[in-house]
């Protein structure tokens, strides 16, 4: 936030003009997230011997791939003021079924396997989307229900059998270790590279495509969106389908990474995805937050996870406790800093402003993902 930015913010009464350098609020969040990651890395390099190694880099990039994809998927839904708690179950179902298919059809090509996983995920996401958008059941309830339904179906279907790595075509199991290219001493894995590409492409889509901007609009003000003639229900359905499809892809990555898939695969991943998004600056109230931010949030969490494990004084059992504290800290910091920023961002030209505190209290009066993208009491539009 430069002085030029502050000088450039003006109300209706001051001199008009454009700022020289315009930094969007989201960029600031992303940059600060990057900063926190760097600080964390530095701190840990003191606590852990031989911290910066190629192996560590590989470990992080491999494990973050799955949560990064899920964080991005979750963000698409959260910006519309919804939430998808069933992604963990979707990962489990798609990983398991794709694994089953691949092990009974050894000649399965990568394209087909991915297509199955993504298609299946999209279908499960579509079910969520229809119930939320057309049945007007709040997303938290719908996805809490489908979390159970999908998982229970998988358990019945699986009958306790595990998909074993041996039964899978070798390319599936080898995928995590394949390197795309190397920079200096670091190997960039194919999987990681693909995930980064996906994140970048989707980020651009959300910023540049009308479809993406409309998702933000729905979350920002559902009533205004309906009044502006936006096809809100179709858009929300689309967000859930996209989320499901990405979760299916994550399921494929899960399959290739772990090989041995049990019927409880993916359990709990939904929490990680929400945590990563929240830490990454995505607001559960909808309307704001970027995919890059969610990606960075996943990276931060994973870096902490992997690093804590290597600090000798800290036992692995601390992982969840620290994660919980981290989420809280991230959200509180976001709110506190965000409020301070918002006061400077807003072109509120005092004292000709409306005295209703809009801008500061607007968060508190907006209902978060607890409610669907519909407003109660409004007659059917």
């Amino acid at each position: 936030m430069t002085a030029a930015d502050v000088a450039g913010l003006h109300g209706t009464r001051r001199r008009p003009g454009r700022t020289a350098v315009w930094i969007r609020p989201e960029r600031v969040k992303e940059l600060s997230l990057l900063g926190v990651i760097v600080v964390a890395l530095l701190v840990f390099s003191f606590l852990v011997d031989d911290y910066f190694s190629g192996r560590f880099f590989n470990r992080v990039t491999t494990s973050v791939a799955i949560t990064a994809v899920l964080a991005v998927a979750q963000t698409l839904v959260i910006v519309t003021r919804n939430i998808d708690l069933s992604v963990g179950s979707i990962v489990g179902v798609t990983a398991y079924l794709t694994g089953q298919f691949a092990s009974s059809n050894p000649s399965t090509s990568p394209a087909v396997a991915i297509a199955i996983a993504v298609g299946l995920g999209a279908l499960l996401g579509a079910i969520n989307g229809v119930i939320v958008a057309y049945g007007r059941v709040p997303a938290i309830i719908t996805t809490l229900g489908t979390l159970a339904i999908y998982r229970s179906w998988l358990i019945s279907h699986g009958e306790g059998k595990t998909i074993t790595a041996d039964s899978l075509p070798s390319w599936v199991v080898d995928l995590p270790t394949r390197t795309a290219f190397s920079i200096g001493g670091l190997d960039i894995r194919v999987v990681f590279a693909v995930v980064v590409v996906i994140v970048v492409v989707l980020q651009v889509a959300m910023q540049r495509l009308r479809w993406g901007r409309r998702l933000y609009a729905i979350g920002s003000n559902p009533e205004a969106a309906a009044q502006a003639g936006l096809p809100t229900r179709r858009l929300v359905l689309g967000a859930f389908i996209a989320c499901g499809a990405l979760s299916g892809f994550a399921g494929f990555l899960f399959l290739s990474r772990f090989g041995n898939i049990t019927v409880v695969a993916g359990q709990g991943l939904e929490l990680d995805s929400v945590a990563a998004a929240v830490v990454g600056g995505v607001s559960v109230l909808g309307g704001s937050g970027t995919l890059v931010g969610a990606f960075l949030g996943a990276v931060l969490i994973d870096v902490l996870d992997q690093s804590l494990v290597r600090v000798p004084q800290v036992s692995e059992f601390w992982r969840n406790a620290i994660l919980g504290a981290l989420i809280l800290a991230a959200v509180i910091a976001d709110v506190v800093i965000g409020r301070r920023f918002r006061r400077r961002w807003s072109a509120e030209a005092r004292p000709h402003t409306r005295v209703d505190g809009s801008g500061d209290e607007s968060d508190a009066t907006r209902v978060p993902a607890l409610t669907a993208a519909e407003q109660s009491g409004r007659p059917d539009a």
Binding site: I141, V336, L370
Partner: protein, 323 residues
């Protein structure tokens, strides 16, 4: 009086469904109508049911507490860890309850003072307190509690009912009185309806929320202690996934997820329905996990049904009257 009749109509619907479920189950199995069987119904899920009473208050207030299962485990682990360290058992129980109440208090404080959505805060709590439980017990299992404790959890206390069931019934009655007949209960509803109106009417919104979250934590702690008593041993992963059943019971009971409406009577009926459903499915040899899937479907259907009821002409008029 559309609002009033709508609420009553939901309870009526639930009562019909409950009777239907009981009748069906009774025809399938002759022992169904036995008193012992009914007590058994509750026995296995008594901890969830106790928490559901507290959750009702929280949701009517317009918030949610996703951390209850984790706080339950946390309290049980505090108890077990204290016991393991040789702390006198009565004191250990007190410490466990205090820890649970503090867990609720902290979350409530964050929600009340910063205005951050309770969804996020209690999600962090869900993760964090499960983690705290894991820090305490790691992957061990602690048991060997005093005999009187095991009796408290399993033996008959009043007639054929165990202590926990009696406690639940007392909580139901007391909770019902507080929610529906006291000014505190009135405040809970108003805040859930519209926190700003409550504030402008002189209600200390922050304090009410703080009280509710602390109570939610405390009740989760009680449930955790009773769980330990019933099971006889404690692991860090107990109660995982309980929140689904608990939230289902409350929402099926007609409590709106948006806050401001719903009754404990409805929740009580919904609890009976869910328990009967699980019991009946179990007797019909449906696996536990499939039962869970059915509960999930029930959750969705219950809200769909509420939506449909909302769209009846009773409600339409409200949308028309404007400033």
């Amino acid at each position: 009086m559309p609002e009033w009749t709508r609420e009553r109509s939901w309870e009526l619907l639930l009562a019909v469904i409950l009777v239907g479920t009981i009748v069906y189950n009774a025809t399938q199995s002759p022992v169904y109508l036995d008193v012992d069987n009914f007590v058994n119904l509750f026995r296995l899920s008594i901890e969830k049911v106790i928490v559901a009473v507290a959750m009702t208050f929280v949701i009517i207030n317009g918030e949610i507490d996703l951390s209850v299962a984790s706080v339950m485990a946390f309290a049980a682990c505090v108890l077990a860890a204290a016991h393991e360290s040789g702390v006198p058992f009565g004191l250990a129980i007190a410490i466990a309850l205090a820890a649970a109440a503090s867990a609720g208090f902290v979350q409530g404080l964050v929600v009340a003072k910063t205005g951050i959505s309770s969804l996020v805060v209690t999600l962090a709590g869900l993760i964090g307190f499960r983690g705290a439980a894991r820090v305490l017990l790691e992957d061990r299992s602690i048991g060997e509690f005093p005999d009187w404790f095991g009796d408290l959890g399993r033996a008959d206390f009043l007639g054929p009912m165990p202590f926990a069931l009696v406690l639940f019934l007392v909580m139901l009655v007391v909770g019902g009185v507080i929610l529906h007949r006291t000014s505190f209960g009135r405040r809970v509803y108003v805040i859930g309806n519209n926190a700003d109106v409550a504030r402008f009417s002189g209600i200390d919104v922050a304090r009410v929320k703080l009280v509710l979250f602390t109570m939610s934590g405390l009740v989760a702690g009680v449930a955790g202690v009773l769980f330990a008593a019933r099971l006889g041993s404690v692991r860090a992963n107990i109660g995982e996934g309980f929140e689904l059943d608990i939230i289902t019971m409350v929402l099926l009971g007609g409590v709106s997820i948006f806050g401001g409406s719903g009754t404990l009577l409805g929740v009580a009926l919904a609890i009976c329905i869910v328990l009967n459903l699980r019991n009946g499915l179990g007797l019909a040899n449906v696996e536990a996990n499939t039962q869970t899937g059915v509960i999930g479907a029930l959750l969705i259907v219950s809200v769909l049904a509420q939506n449909l009821l909302d769209r009846l002409p009773l409600r339409r008029r409200e949308a028309e009257v404007e400033a």
